[in-house]
Symmetry: C2
Subunit: 386 residues, 2 copies
Amino acid sequence: MTGAEETGDELLGRVFLGRVIEPGDEAGGRWVREFGVAEVVRRLRCGDEALPGVTATRWAGLVARAARAEPERDLAVGRAAGARFVCPGDGEWPRQLDDLGDARPLGLWVRGRPSLRMWALRSVAVVGARACTEYGTHAAATLAAGLAERGWVVVSGGAYGIDGAAHRGALAARGATVAVLACGVDQSYPRGHAALLTRIAHQGLVIGELPPGDHPTPGRFILRNRVIAALTTGTVVVEAARRSGSLATARAARRLGRFTMGVPGPVTSALSAGVHDLLRDEATLVTDATEIIELVGAMGDLAPVRRGPVLPRDLLEPHTRGVLAALPGNRAAPAQEIALGARTTPEDAIARLYELRALGYVERHGDGWKLTRQAVTSVRDGDRLC
Amino acid sequence: MTGAEETGDELLGRVFLGRVIEPGDEAGGRWVREFGVAEVVRRLRCGDEALPGVTATRWAGLVARAARAEPERDLAVGRAAGARFVCPGDGEWPRQLDDLGDARPLGLWVRGRPSLRMWALRSVAVVGARACTEYGTHAAATLAAGLAERGWVVVSGGAYGIDGAAHRGALAARGATVAVLACGVDQSYPRGHAALLTRIAHQGLVIGELPPGDHPTPGRFILRNRVIAALTTGTVVVEAARRSGSLATARAARRLGRFTMGVPGPVTSALSAGVHDLLRDEATLVTDATEIIELVGAMGDLAPVRRGPVLPRDLLEPHTRGVLAALPGNRAAPAQEIALGARTTPEDAIARLYELRALGYVERHGDGWKLTRQAVTSVRDGDRLC
């Protein structure tokens, strides 16, 4: 990662490339790696020096797309929709996405208050069929609520069925949830989830690779799944018929060294058949949030700081430090009370509490939040531990 | 195994010991192994030379029980109920029970036509909760029918719930089933299964360690489970709450190197929780008979003769040879037609067809039976293959 990745030009270049190169296109990732963003942008803009490995026809198509790209406008539209663009190398970039190699997103559009990087450190994907059963809805919502209650972030795809149930379950538990879309983060897709997505953007995060205004295609759903898989410590499939897309997410997770898990169901249900195949094959059977956390909580690479705070308090963002300061020293307090003490909204307090959770400062106990033992110690020791 | 084990004295001695020593008592097994049946019987009858490792009180108890034992009467009562007594060393003894070591049954009471040894070569245990759900009943019956249709023998415990559904499923498919009781094989336990057990004894086998007239106790159920586990190539648990006895059968199977399998169910069902624990722990998830057979069919030790007939035709029991001769050379025939050709009843024909299946002579195809390729070849070559 070069220093240049953090400059405004780099960011603008990546927004530009997002209009030209489709998500997950490994050729595009290779060009960026080999020539740097600026050079790839320059060649696409000039059009007279083709990038390696493309036919003349494809090159012409890319150049035509480049001619139509308006990255400043995309940024303005995104900003108007409350979205920022996060690039590799940014402080908010979730580094585990680098595991995707050349298929790593060029950047991510992010709507919502919390730090994507912090939230993703302790996240689990809960995915499954769109046309799910009532059993699947119930199982997804219960798992998601259980994960949220234990301070874990629930990631899903914002779709009907299992995805929606997972997001709703997390929100209902006043928990943290991230929707990873296969379209622009300013789009309401599926349309019936417009209110849900607005709520997620308000209480959590709505993210995606595609520029504002872009629509989903079948291919984009599949490629979106790799982001869900890479972002999280593990993927739980709740209901999936054979050949369901969520099984692809689980397999991608496995290829990336993440945990793959499945929720069993009746053998008489076609919507559990795909999950059962997965369980026979490679995945771990899970029946509740505790079992999921038991598995993924043991994994260190996404959450390297399980034993105590990583960042000294001084380096925390001032508002986050304010929320931390509002926690009582000796008991758990509900988010509402902490928000009052920190003079902010409950949503803002919750966003920051989950960040502080990822950093090892706080724990969630039922509906309340309390300082970890390490956090109390680090206060006493003036952060000398860090 | 000494030649003496096959004499009538040995048999009578073992029937006698069955009245004195409880099933699975390893001390009893050790005495028999160290001193032989005759000597153990002599000491128990005399009472003046205690066997090793027993307190005086326990010895007095054993001697008192020995004084009341009437093995000739047991044999006569058993015979009247249609039961024979099969000992280690007998031709019909299922040698895989020897894996139980000193907990090996002293012998087994057997009601029914077929050869226990032959039938058990290709058998699978299907067990589970007594108070099961409709889902469990359905799953057990479907699995058992599927196993039976593919020429496998379904073993269970004759209890209400999953056991009964498994037996019924196998019978409904005109298949082979074995009930292993925790009481005398002349007893109808549970009482509501009197008709079912009669039907199993007529079309299959009802077996058990306990002498005629004996009743089950909680301890006897648990010890019966080790026989189910040892007799079969693998154990499938269909529904089981946490701490269910059928989980003990599965664990016993695992300790004995047999396959343990579980049928998943809704995570919301307490009757699947035990199975899910098992699946998370050590068992293979199965959803249909094909998956079970895929697993256990690969195992060679209980069924060493999967590639062709073991026994030359001349060594087959004459009636079994008659059934074999009644099979058409070039197509599958229903059991009824084969029975007609062999001048026997359909039940007798089915019993012998499953024996011939275990020996590699025949295969079941849906509702019909046909000669295996090896059997056809061995006819042409005058059994020279064997």
